[in-house]
Each structure stands twice: as C-alpha cells, then as structure tokens.
C-alpha cells in the first residue's frame, strides 16, 4: 500500500489520500494516509507536476512545430517562415495549406486519444485498456478495406466519412452489447471479442481481395498504420468539429472516473450506477477517437501510453489533472511522431503511426516500467 502516496510538496493529491481510505473500507488493512507522506518527505519528489508537464509538452510541441513549418521543400529560415505565413507566395501555400494542417490535426488527434485512454483505463480499472477495445478502429479499418479492395461495393461517399460511420457503428455495437455487463473484466473481454471480430472481417476482406487490387495494399496499409500526410484544412475542421466537443464531456466525467477507480461497491454507495457510468464513459471515449481514426487511421499506442506517462509525471491518478496532462502528452506524441514521419526521410513519408510505436512507444514503455512502483493506478 505504499505505492503512490502524496508527494508532500503541497501538490493536489486528494484522490491518493481518498483511495487509501476507500481501500480500508473495503476490508483491507487500515492504512494511515499520513504514513506515505512522512515516508516520502525525506526523498524529494522530482516529478514535474502538471504545470511542469504542460510546460514540457509545450516546449516539445513548439520545437516540433517550428521544425515542421520550416523544413521541407522549400526549407525556410525563421524570417522567411514569418514572411510566408503572411504572404501569398508559393512558400506561403506550402506553409499554410500543407504543413500547418498536419500540425493542428496532430494536436487534435493526440489530445483526443490521450483523453480517451484515460476514460478507458480509469472506467474499466485496467491499465491496458485503450480505445481499440471499443471496436472503433477495427470498424473504420473494415470500411476502408472494403472501399479499397472492393470499390464497386462501397457507397458513393468519401472514405473518411464511411470510416467514421462504420467506426462509430462498431463502437456503438460494442457499447450496446456490453450495456448489460456490469463487470469491468467481462466488459473488457466483450470489447476485445468484438474488436477481434471486426479485425478478422478486415483480414478476410484483404485475404480474398482480387489480385488486381494488389496495388492498393500499400494505400490500405497507410491507413491501417495511421498517417496525417494527407491532412488539409477541410479535413482538420471536420476532425476538430466532431471530436473536440467530447473533450469537455471527458473533463466533466473526471469525478465519476475517480469514483469508479475505487471500486464498484464504493461507486454504488455514493449513488453511482457503475454499469451505466461505464457505458456513458465509453460512449464519450468513442466520440473522442472515432473522427481521428476515420481521418488519420488507427494510431497506436498514444491512447495507451499518454495516461501512463501523465500519471508517472504527476505522481497522481486523479482523473482531473491526468485528463489534462494526457491530452497534452498525447498531442505532443502525435506532433513529434508526425514530424519524424515527414522529415526523417524527406521527401519520403513514414506514417506517423510507425513513430508513435517505434519512437514514443519504447521509451515510454521503459518509463512506465520504471515508475510503476511509485504511481498507483
């Protein structure tokens, strides 16, 4: 029970204290919540806290944004960049219409994925939960696979729209199917089964694809990995319009998340229906990720890791700061990943999804493993 106590530096750690009390109410060993404070007081906590985390994210995003806007064809000096941002030259088109939308899209997609990860992990009390268990990514991928390999069968609507509709439908199906399940573990299993089902359908579509569509495989893979390379303002506005409204809903649900994390019995004691609450939270998570998955593809690892990185940095699992921090960390991951994807082998594009795993994922996994003893989940 010594895991994750308050840090003794005056930071907001209400949930950590409350958690100890609730655990004792559940029949566990009664713990004096002041003990971790005194035990930790001798070893100063060097974790950055929310402000430090946000400042760090802002710094990384700032550097990545500057590099993204300046480097390419043409590569611009800072002065030329400023001129291009205000001018009408060809460089202005490249900066304002090609480079800028990607950065904004990365911020939106990353922030929504980070928030969705917190919602999933906290509501299901499972540190491995992420939005892929909702089936949204798999539903969107199935739609894209069908439109790619059987274009004659696809309805005459733009692919992102179809991906959004199918992803949302798949997520709703999971939510409805799991609506009766109050047990978080069974709910997770149901989500995993549904996701696997859609994933299998997608594999079948690809397996039986006409061989003359073989040239389309790379295009599908580009979506399946997740990429922002074709983002334009019209897409970004749609993405923001459809996903950002769910962020306030996620923040509003922070208190519910904090209660659910403690346990269903405690939640019931305070008048919360855990089953219904999870359904609502998953619906919000779905609203957060579905547009991003539809337009950018199922970006991996961000939703899974951003909450863990945030909890590690904050030394707290209080959903309120974690939601804010995870949004910032997710956005930072995406901006950095897209920057690497665009610039590392320029002019060749590497999908951002490759870097969210390859660059952000492995160090983050190490970090999560390193701090697991000091951050309660």
């Amino acid at each position: 029970m010594s895991d994750g106590g308050p840090d003794g530096e005056g930071r907001d750690r209400p949930t950590a204290r409350a958690r100890y009390r609730y655990r004792s109410d559940d029949g566990m060993t009664d713990v004096d919540t002041s003990a971790p404070v005194s035990a930790r007081a001798e070893a100063p906590d060097r974790r950055p806290g929310l402000i430090g985390l946000l400042a760090g994210c802002a710094a990384i995003v700032g550097v990545c944004t500057a590099l993204q806007l300046m480097i390419g064809e043409p590569t611009l000096s800072p002065g030329e960049l400023i001129a291009a941002l205000g001018g009408e030259r060809e460089a202005s088109f490249v900066v304002k219409e090609l480079r800028s939308p990607r950065i904004v899209a990365a911020l939106v997609v990353g922030a929504t994925l980070g928030c969705a990860g917190v919602l999933m992990q906290d509501s299901l009390r499972n540190p491995l939960a992420d939005p892929s268990l909702l089936g949204v990514a798999q539903g969107a991928s199935l739609a894209v696979a069908i439109t790619t390999f059987y274009p004659a069968l696809a309805p005459p609507v733009p692919r992102p729209i179809l991906a959004l509709v199918c992803g949302t439908a798949a997520g709703l199906l999971v939510v409805l199917v799991t609506g009766r399940l109050r047990d978080a573990v069974r709910l997770l299993l149901a989500g995993a089964v549904a996701s696997s089902f859609f994933g299998t359908l997608t594999a079948l579509v690809i397996f039986f694809a006409p061989s003359d569509r073989a040239g389309s495989v790379a295009g599908y893979q580009r979506f399946a990995i997740g990429s922002l390379s074709t983002m334009e303002w019209e897409t970004v506005w749609r993405l923001a319009l459809w996903s950002l409204p769910a962020i306030p809903l996620a923040f509003a649900a922070a208190r519910v998340l904090n209660v659910l994390k403690i346990g269903d019995d405690v939640a019931a004691n305070v008048g919360l229906d855990p089953g219904r609450a999870r359904i609502v939270l998953m619906a919000i998570a779905m609203a957060l990720v579905a547009p991003g998955y539809a337009f950018a593809g199922p970006i991996a690892f961000v939703a899974l890791l951003a909450p863990h990185i945030t909890r590690g940095a904050l030394g707290s699992s209080d959903a309120r700061p974690v939601l804010v921090g995870a949004a910032a960390v997710g956005a930072t991951q995406m901006v950095a990943a897209d920057g690497l994807g665009r610039l590392l082998l320029f002019p060749s594009e590497i999908p951002a999804g490759v870097w969210t795993i390859g660059i952000a994922g492995l160090p983050a996994l190490y970090y999560v493993g390193r701090v697991r003893r000091s951050v309660s989940w």
Partner: protein, 361 residues
C-alpha cells in the same frame, strides 16, 4: 540467372527464321518483320539478325536445361506444361499463342491471371493464388512466378516446383528496363518449345518502342513523367520499371527518379511532373483525376495543362511485353495527343499485334 549462351543463340535463330512473325503454329505471332530494336543500335541489330539466319529453329531439342532467374536449373524432356502463378507468365503465354497449363482465376478478378486474349483460358484453373492443393493437383511441370519477393513465395515452393522469372521493379535482378521482358519471353519460349514465337514477341515489343520513338521531339524527351498509385497520398511508381526505360529510350519522356513509397505532397509539387498518369483501376477506384481534390493537385502543371490522365490498373508497371505495349499505346494516346494514337481499350481484349504503334516505326 540467365539462359545459357547456346540457348540464347537458339532463340535468336528462331527469331530470324520466323521473320519476326512466328512459326505459323498459331498464336499471336503476326509480328512485323522488322524489329527496330530500341536498345541496340540498328546496325548491331541487323548484324545480329544476319548471324542467326543460318541457324535452325528446329534445332531446339529436348531434353533441355534452362536456368531460371534465381539460378536454378530445370531439365525438360518435352515442352513444359506451366502453371502461371504470376500474371507476367500469362502475358507471355498469350504472346506465344499458348494457353497456360493452369492459372488462377479468383472470383471477382478483373485483370490478374486472365490476360489470355487471344489464346483463351487454360484447361485447369485454381480459385485463388494460394490454393496450394489446387496447384498440386494441376497437370503441370511447375509454376512460373516472378522472382521471389516475400516469404509467401517460399511457402508456395513447399507444394509445387517453381520456376522464377525476372521482374525489375519488383525483385532484385541483374536485368534492367524491358530487357527483363525479353529475357522472360525467351525463357518461357524455351520451356514451351516456342523460341520463334518468343523472338517474334521480343521483336514486337521493340517495334512498339521504336514506333513510340517516331513521335520523339527534344521537347517531349525533356518532359518528366510520374505514375500515381491508387492512393489519396502521392505514392509514385519507381523509375526502374520497363515502362520508364521504354519511354526514355523512345525519347518521349523521363520518369521522375523516385523511390518506392509515399512522397511528401510538397516535394511532389516541387518536382511538378509534366505528365501524370493516375492508377484509376479497372473497376472503379476512389482516386482518379476527377476525384482528386487535395490542395496540391490543382496546382500541378500536368493538371493545369491537361496532361494528367487516368490509366488502367497496374499495366504501367506490370508484367510482360503485352502490357508494356498496352501502356506505351496508352501513354501515346493521352500524353502525346498529337500522335493520333487511339487509347488501347481493355487489356483483356488487347491484341498487341494490332497496336498502331507497330505501324509507326
């Protein structure tokens, strides 16, 4: 990696004896008598033809040992019955006027494996490329595939013997450009005991390139060309394909020197190719010149000048001499509208012997 020198000599002999028109055993062999080889100097080609005139095409006798593209030797007691795992193989069979011994015709397929015109389909078909049980039951000596490309190819070899062909752009090979098509035609011609037809097909391909060269001007030669795959991004064909070698040799354009994969949009805008072909697909693709609406597209010179056009699926980079002639005619029709060359129509009905490019040389 190559057929032995002796066998090549036999093949060249067959070409001259056939006068470029096949041996009269049927098939597509009505090739033009002259083959203005684009790769070799005219004098060299003429000398080569003179050298082989004295030889006898009937001298190709079995048993015969042929070496495939990965260095494996195959010894045949009689002309082989071939299962075509790769569409380049069916292309070659059509060129040689022979139906494959077996071929896959997956449900819903619109191009791959059904390029049989004018020879018709094989007696035996399997329902999918990976129908290994079906392949193993076919009455064939071996499968013919392009050079091994992935672990899947090794899996195929567990069920049936495989003879590999050259495929620049897809696999490592020491041949470049359309040399690979020529070599593949000769290899399969030997396997089938049809070296004369193979040489006629080689001559036909070279005549088509020479026909395209008839439209060459310094201005056309300087034009850059890009082929965009079926993708909302800018994913381009590499410049090491037979098609790119052919248009460069014909002096009607140069493929952009690009590597495999998706190209950054602003980099593509900077390259700004003079001519763009978009892989539009046989059965309706979502990404055509009409549907592309990204910010870069409208700014490209080819789009503004009307030299961006939709093309049929895969044929610019796949798979044999017939599809190359098809692609060259398609290029002439859309990229050189003043040529008066008509569009070639569907590949399944395309007879390379009637291509108007053959009349241009």
């Amino acid at each position: 990696m190559r057929v032995s020198v002796v066998l090549v000599a036999f093949a060249l002999t067959a070409a001259s004896c056939g006068g470029g028109g096949g041996d009269g055993d049927g098939g597509s062999g009505a090739a033009p008598a002259t083959a203005p080889a684009a790769e070799a100097a005219p004098d060299e080609a003429a000398e080569e033809a003179t050298d082989v005139e004295a030889a006898d095409v009937e001298a190709v006798e079995f048993p015969l040992t042929v070496t495939d593209a990965v260095g494996r030797e195959v010894t045949l007691d009689e002309p082989a019955r071939i299962g075509c795992y790769w569409s380049g193989c069916t292309e070659i069979h059509a060129e040689l006027g022979v139906a494959p011994g077996a071929s896959p015709v997956p449900a819903g397929t619109s191009s791959d494996g059904v390029f049989y015109f004018p020879v018709g389909p094989p007696d035996y078909t399997v329902t999918a490329f990976n129908d290994f049980e079906g392949w193993s039951q076919a009455d064939i000596n071996f499968l013919v595939n392009r050079g091994p490309q992935s672990p899947d190819d090794a899996v195929v070899e567990q069920f049936v013997d495989v003879f590999y062909l050259h495929a620049p752009g897809l696999t490592d090979t020491d041949l470049t450009g359309y040399e690979a098509h020529s070599e593949n035609l000769r290899l399969v011609g030997l396997l089938l005991g049809k070296p004369a037809e193979a040489e006629a097909a080689v001559a036909r391909m070279e005549a088509a390139i020479a026909g395209l060269a008839a439209f060459s001007t310094p201005e056309l030669a300087d034009r850059s060309f890009a082929y965009l795959f079926n993708d909302e991004g800018y994913r381009v064909m590499t410049d090491d394909t037979p098609f790119c070698a052919a248009i460069a040799d014909a002096g009607v354009g140069t493929c952009l020197p690009l590597s495999e994969g998706e190209l950054n949009a602003e980099a593509f805008l900077d390259l700004d190719p003079d001519v763009i072909a978009v892989q539009a697909g046989l059965d309706g693709s979502g990404f055509t010149t009409a549907t592309r609406d990204d910010p870069v597209w409208e700014r490209l010179s080819a789009v503004q000048n009307g030299t961006a056009y939709d093309s049929d699926d895969r044929l610019y980079w796949c798979c044999g001499s017939r599809s190359l002639i098809w692609a060259l005619q398609d290029f002439a029709a859309y990229a050189i509208p003043d040529s008066g060359i008509p569009a070639p129509g569907p590949i399944r009905e395309f007879d390379p012997t009637t291509s108007p490019l053959l009349q241009q040389g």
